[in-house]
Subunit: 209 residues, 2 copies
Amino acid sequence: MIRGKISNSVIRRLPRYYRFLGELSSKGVARISSGELSARMGFTASQVRQDFNCFGEFGQQGYGYNVELLKNEIGGILGLYTPHTAVMIGVGNLGRAVAQHINFNNFGFQLTGIFDQKESLVGQMVKNMPIRSTATLDEFCRENHPQVAILCIPKESAELVTKQLIKLGVTGFLNFSHYDIALDYPNVLVENVHFSDSLMTLSYKLSNK
Amino acid sequence: MIRGKISNSVIRRLPRYYRFLGELSSKGVARISSGELSARMGFTASQVRQDFNCFGEFGQQGYGYNVELLKNEIGGILGLYTPHTAVMIGVGNLGRAVAQHINFNNFGFQLTGIFDQKESLVGQMVKNMPIRSTATLDEFCRENHPQVAILCIPKESAELVTKQLIKLGVTGFLNFSHYDIALDYPNVLVENVHFSDSLMTLSYKLSNK
DNA sequence: TAGATTGTTAATCGATTAACAATC
DNA sequence: TAGATTGTTAATCGATTAACAATC
């Protein structure tokens, strides 16, 4: 289905396409041309067609694209319909917010465990799941084989836990910490979320406009 | 200080340089060459030198770069030492976590007000600041002229509040909502933070490795 | 059929990498 | 001075845009 190596630039646009098509679909729009889609998203029509053509031929000459169909194709390409299991590490303000804010099921993941090292939190329920002690992480992973970890812990603890998790078979990270996983483990898949980088980028733009 | 138009790619690397140099500095590293810095960050030496040269000549032939000096230069370029005022809109799980998790002062911002439409939250203290009613947003902005808004509200409310804020003089947004501000207001500066996009990108990578 | 719009190839643009003279 | 490393120009690579034949 996927033709050759897909560039990072293309990959990063896929979630946006998926979101947009979802909105169109829920608004009852049945078909859309690359021209109109690009106009609505701020891309060029060429880019839209090039992007889709990385993965197949989803349109029809003279007609355009079927919104629902295209959305589902992209969802499939994104892997949303074959979820990966995930554990969350760290349930401070941030972890709790992320756990409660995001419906992992909609984005290709199934959250199977939530961990914190703070014993006072252990047993508390978050998203219908008990917070578990980090002390039981090894045992849990050997039984449940989570594929992904969502790291909501500070840099200091992140390094050690990451090592542990990788040993236990975790191959992907959603990393909110400032520990640079990708540098130490080049074969592991990492997506970083750094608010502070976003803030600084915004600061740059405000200061240099 | 800034030479010609700086590309987005360069800008997005600046916060990372800043962070790295901060760490080096706190480890007591006084000087570093483009070669070593690039190796530690996963860039090429050429790129590092090209990036810095967008803004000036911060190094010295045969020596390299003074870590502390370079860090401060980049901090300056990022505008971190001339903070912009910011308000936070929405203090649900996410807003609260962001407010408590991020030290805005370190990243070029001064948080001057926190707002929520839910009257039951009004008056509660977050980060030594009372949560204010969105009903008082107009009044507050006319008095305090915040330059930036951090949007931690759902898509549905975001559209209206954004319109209001822009009318009141806000020119920058850190946008956690899925409302696409940049499309409706091309002259406003927006940094989007979309967890779900990061999750889907990770899902793609896991599914297509 | 005629009009619209795709899929795809070619042209352009921009970003990254390589090379090296300048110089500390 | 000799060695190291910058600043900068030139070469390469990759991504975006334009163009158009294919075709629904």
